[in-house]
């Protein structure tokens, strides 16, 4: 009986031994086995040349092409915690808001070395690149990417900074009609183009709105992101709803633009390509 009790206590304590061990040598070591649970972190790691150290990721990590070969340990519905532990990572990147908070808590309680990311604006990309550079020992490469990102970002924002404000409706999704509100990543992109989000005073970050309220706000531009996963029906429905509302300035003057949403919704240097098209589309309103 005694033996069983000791064995039992031992079993209970086992995870804690592992935890303290993990902490000891996890501090200043360069990460070699990384699990990136956010598609944008995968992309950033590839950008600084640490892509080959990623041992697992989640679905939707599709860029660059090499990322498609990385084993998957979860999706939007949750992370397979056991697989994460089994892969013995020395760094796990979690995404606040993208991963389930219960999963993040669980990983934290298991003593895994975590880096959490939660990008809100473009400057957060540089911040994460800096952190990743430090953790992987690739600071030089990271700084190079940061420099490029910041230079290009400045070019874009400087170009539109002094131009007039354009009232813009960003149609995140058509059914239910969803837009963007304050403190969202997409609103910060609109601001970078010196566009004014018509729902900037909304109650939530992703408000469900009515056609009527869009009519009242009369936007000068309507931006509709297209995603690679959309089917034909969704793609046509997205623009069809506006056709009969020629009272809206954007519809009347032909400023309803469909843009590549995959680029805009990624928190990586590629977003600058998206930002550039977004700003150019919005700028057409000013030129008219």
């Amino acid at each position: 009986m005694k033996k069983i009790v000791i064995l039992f206590i031992g079993l209970i304590l086992l995870p804690f031994c592992h935890l303290s061990q993990g902490k000891d040598d996890g501090e200043n070591k360069i990460a070699q086995r990384i699990i990136a649970l956010a598609p944008h972190s995968v992309e950033l790691l590839y950008a600084i040349g640490a892509g080959d150290r990623i041992v697992a990721t989640t679905e939707y990590a599709d860029y660059p092409k090499a990322a498609l070969k990385i084993p998957r340990v979860g999706n939007a519905n949750g992370i397979q915690i056991e697989r994460v532990i089994e892969l013995k990572p020395d760094l796990v990147i979690v995404w606040q808001g993208g991963n389930k908070s219960a999963d993040i808590q669980k990983l934290k309680s298991l003593g895994v070395n975590l880096l959490s990311t939660q990008p809100f604006k473009i400057s957060d990309i540089s911040k994460e690149l800096r952190q990743l550079g430090k953790l992987t020992g690739l600071e030089q490469q990271a700084n190079k990417v940061i420099e490029e990102v910041e230079k290009r970002y400045k070019e874009i924002t400087n170009k539109y900074k002094s131009r007039s404000k354009v009232k813009t409706f960003y149609q995140l999704w058509h059914d239910p009609l969803t837009s963007i509100g304050p403190d969202s990543w997409l609103e910060s992109l609109l601001n970078d183009c010196n566009a004014e989000n018509i729902f900037k005073d909304a109650f939530s970050s992703y408000p469900v709105v009515s056609i009527e309220s869009v009519l009242v706000k009369n936007p000068q531009a309507i931006i509709i992101p297209h995603h690679s996963g959309d089917n034909d029906l969704q793609a046509t429905e997205k623009t069809r709803i506006w056709k009969k509302w020629s009272e809206i300035s954007a519809v009347k003057n032909g400023h309803v633009s469909v843009i590549n949403g995959d680029l805009l919704h990624r928190f990586t240097p590629r977003v600058l390509d998206g930002l550039q098209t977004l700003c150019e589309d919005i700028d057409k309103v000013r030129r008219k």
């Binding site: 059914d175 239910p176 939530s204 009515s210 009519l215 996963g229």
Partner: protein, 341 residues
Amino acid sequence: MKFKYSFITIFSLILLIFSLLAATVIGSVDLTFGQVFETLFICNENQNSGIQNSCSVDPVYQKIIWEIRLPRILMAFLTGAGLSITGAILQSVTRNPLADPYLFGISSGAALGAVLAISVFSSGIISVTFGALSGGIFSVILMLTLAGRAVLQVERLLLSGVAVSFMLGAFTSLIIYYSDPDTASTLLFWMMGSFSNSQWQDLLLPAISITIGFILFLIYRSWIGAIQAGDEGAFTLGIPVNQLRLMMLIICSVITAILVAQVGGIGFVGLMIPHISRYIVGSTLHKVLFMCVTIGGSFMLWVDVVAHSLIPDQVLPVGIVTAAIGSLFFFLILKSRGRAL
């Protein structure tokens, strides 16, 4: 007593008309009763005809009223009225105060149909409405087949409905779990109910089915009343109890399936409004049905108004507002009823 009923009738009709007008006035654009009245009765829609009319309402407002608000409001009215009368009939023929239009798994069936239409047949060959309608009808057929002869007994009938509902609900959850977040959010919003996407042509089928159903319910009202009093009594009166009950179930199911397909799952109205109606006018069936139309319709109109105006510029799912307001309202009635006793 007679005076009281006619008084209540007139009052409820006035309530309905007022609700219809108020719902047209309230929205993101502030309109006045005068503007709405002018748009509806004076302004000629056909402006090219050259007929001079004294219309002073901005064409945009006219378009908002005709294209956005009226279809939505009429759909809300039809949904409230339709779900309430089917709820009243089902409560009568099953003699179960907890019966409601979703009793036989129609909402689960419709949800499954919609989910399949959105996520599996994603090329868009099947519209959500059609998917939901087929799903709703499929659930009733499934229930009748699985229950077999058990259909003839009320208790078994009810239990079969619950079983079908759970079965189809499980499939729906499974598909949602495996679909991508955008599809999942569309589905969730659909299941919580909304009138926002209503168009004029969408109103046709619900209007026809509810009118036919209402007339049939009125024709058979004395038989339904007899069943409500008890199967044995109805048998001795020579009423084909089982056939009649089955027929009523099918009529109610068709109306419900058509409504759910258009507006999604809006619960609680079909359960609560019949009870409120009975509380006001007693249990005479045609009076209850009339009350269901006026009160159910008005209730749904106000729910829609709240859903659109509670948070500025944002729309809440109708199902949430219905359940929230409805349950509060119901508690108040139960309480005042308790005091009266």
